[in-house]
Symmetry: C2
Subunit: 364 residues, 2 copies
């Protein structure tokens, strides 16, 4: 099948670019002796997780129990749930998976540790637990080294779980590389304090799990880090371009759309809106726009309805004809892929593979 | 099953409130002699479309061919595709549906009319076509009465399609009722000009399809309107509250979530973010916040990650415990439901029905 034969809207992945991205980060991690544990929330596709393992990943990361179940069903046997699991139902599902899969879970509360220990014991399995530390993003994570040691001790005293280390997420570091350096210093001070305090308490962190795509190629600069969990690096997106951590030639994923209306002056309407791209905003610059039209950057993706994309074509030389197709790099690949049931892997103009987004909609 | 037994996040619909909303608008339409053709993009659930028909709707509206296919497969036999269909593939799929279902389509271009005529002729079926008129939203729609007459004439001269009237969408009228009046005047001037010009050309509009949820109870004030296409009215949402066209007691849909972290001071983190609620913004006031926490309005739903909702609890008296559940009214019900595979219909604390969101992800 040729790309021209695909109906729109359709998510297209350029396999050459994706493979280059997979190889590049795998090489970096190998050279710097870092374990790579990609976050599969970005694609939710088991075949891509397997490809990441073939490129040297030690295991995968997921955000939801449902995602872990989909990935485990495909034979992936080392999964980190980088999300606090606090209810008996979800803990039970993970305990069932732990019979055949190595399951690690991050947490920041005694409640989570106790629920997980109880279910693991009932099921006769073991969980590895990572204490999440807040290093500046202020979402989850214990606030200081004292709280980290307290929670690590609690875990060490519970049955069928063991304290294996710490996890952090530098979600506030989606900024241009020159601004990342200033943010890195307090992160490292926090990591130093936490790791020393754990050492002093006799609870050394075997695993220090950190990282993200925006900071992927600075991973070795995080003190003590043993593994990284980037998600978007295999695709990249407009937000990575905005933060200047990727170039257009590094963007593997785009959305193929069709122009469906040009009746309103200065506008072209495409058959993709918030239910195709998600309504995630652009996180750099003036924050406007919902995607990059690589072939005509004078045209801006200005607004969205659910199924209509509103292009402002008033500054473009190009005339947008009804029925013509264009490709758009979305603001955020993770939420875009999550809108689709299929993703098309292409090489040149050939569709080489169709992937089901198997964990789409697995919210629980 | 009781609500307390549902895993989270879960979309909950209060059946009493929804039935009240269904009845109220059906009564209004009957009293004012308006046909009701609800937009099913809001729920994408055939059983709810059937309930709307039982409440007096004459047929339904959809945004995508895939949605039409799902609804037709459940026996719904009068469907308006309120979206320009411009490609042969999609026109063919609609022609196949038209063998057993009355299919109407809105459009604003000669290209769309020709593609639809060709496929209808090949399949031996007929389409009703509505000329979309831009009455101020500036998305789709011909810009003036001259263009409307030209396109209506084109349709009248094509085989296997007939011109049945006009369609408009007052998407710019999601404002408080007192501000709607000023916007209504230019809309009516545009409608008057268009309808008179069509009359003079001997192409009278049998159908004048308009309306939306924010304007639902002013539908009779739109000149010449014969049918309305509200979507959100059965659920309502925070945007309808913001525009003051619904009260909290009219909101039937909420998302049940669990507090998963309270480690960061002033924060509570819930297990729903942009992949649960969508990242659609609040369209009134200062535009901030991603949902309303009915039971504690002092707490704001301040930010989102994909799977984390960030509540700012610093102004609240309430202490958010890990594992406790809260209900949140989302900014936009249409994009929220689209994130889920199931919706739970509840009466009091009992789950009375589980609906599959059958048209979820039908983007083509």
């Amino acid at each position: 099948v040729d790309i021209d034969e695909l109906d729109t809207p359709a998510v297209i992945v350029d396999l050459d670019v994706m493979e280059k991205n997979l190889t590049r980060l795998a090489t970096y991690c190998r050279e710097h002796n870092l374990n790579l544990r990609p976050h599969t929330k970005t694609h939710k596709i088991p075949a891509l997780a397997c490809m990441q393992l073939e490129h040297g990943a030690i295991g995968i990361t997921v955000a939801k129990v449902g995602e872990a179940e989909v990935m485990a069903a495909c034979g992936i046997n080392d999964i980190l749930v980088a999300y606090p699991i606090v209810t008996p139902e979800k803990a039970l599902r993970l305990a069932a998976l732990a019979e055949r899969t190595q399951i690690s879970i991050s947490l920041d509360s005694t409640e989570a540790a106790e629920v997980l220990s109880k279910r693991a014991r009932e099921q006769g399995v073991n969980f590895s637990l990572l204490v999440e530390v807040d290093i500046g993003f202020h979402r989850c994570g214990v606030s200081d080294e004292k709280a980290a040691v307290t929670l690590a001790k609690t875990i060490a005293n519970l049955k069928n779980v063991h304290f294996s280390g710490i996890m952090f997420y530098p979600g506030h570091m989606l900024v241009k590389p020159e601004s990342q350096s200033a943010l890195l210093r307090p992160v490292n001070e926090s990591l130093d304090r936490t790791l020393s305090a754990l050492d002093r308490a006799g609870l050394s962190a075997r695993v220090v799990s950190g990282g993200s795509t925006p900071t992927a190629y600075r991973s070795r600069e995080f003190h003590g880090v043993t593994e990284v969990r980037p998600g978007m690096y295999l695709f990249n997106d407009r937000n990575m371009l905005g933060a200047e951590v990727a170039r257009v030639s590094d963007c593997a994923l785009s959305v193929l759309v069709t122009v469906v209306s040009n009746a309103v002056s200065g506008r072209a309407i495409i058959d993709g809106g918030s239910k195709t791209f998600s309504s995630d905003r652009f996180l750099s610059g003036d924050g406007t726009g919902f995607g990059l039209i690589e072939e005509d950057p004078q045209t801006t993706f200005e607004a969205m309805s659910e199924e209509h994309g509103h292009l402002n074509v008033s500054r473009s030389e190009r005339r947008y004809r009804i029925g013509e197709r264009i490709r758009i790099i979305p603001n955020h690949v993770c939420t875009t892929v999550n809108m689709h049931h299929q993703v098309y892997g292409v090489r040149g103009n050939r569709v080489e593979v169709v992937w089901e987004v198997a964990a789409q909609g697995k919210l629980q």
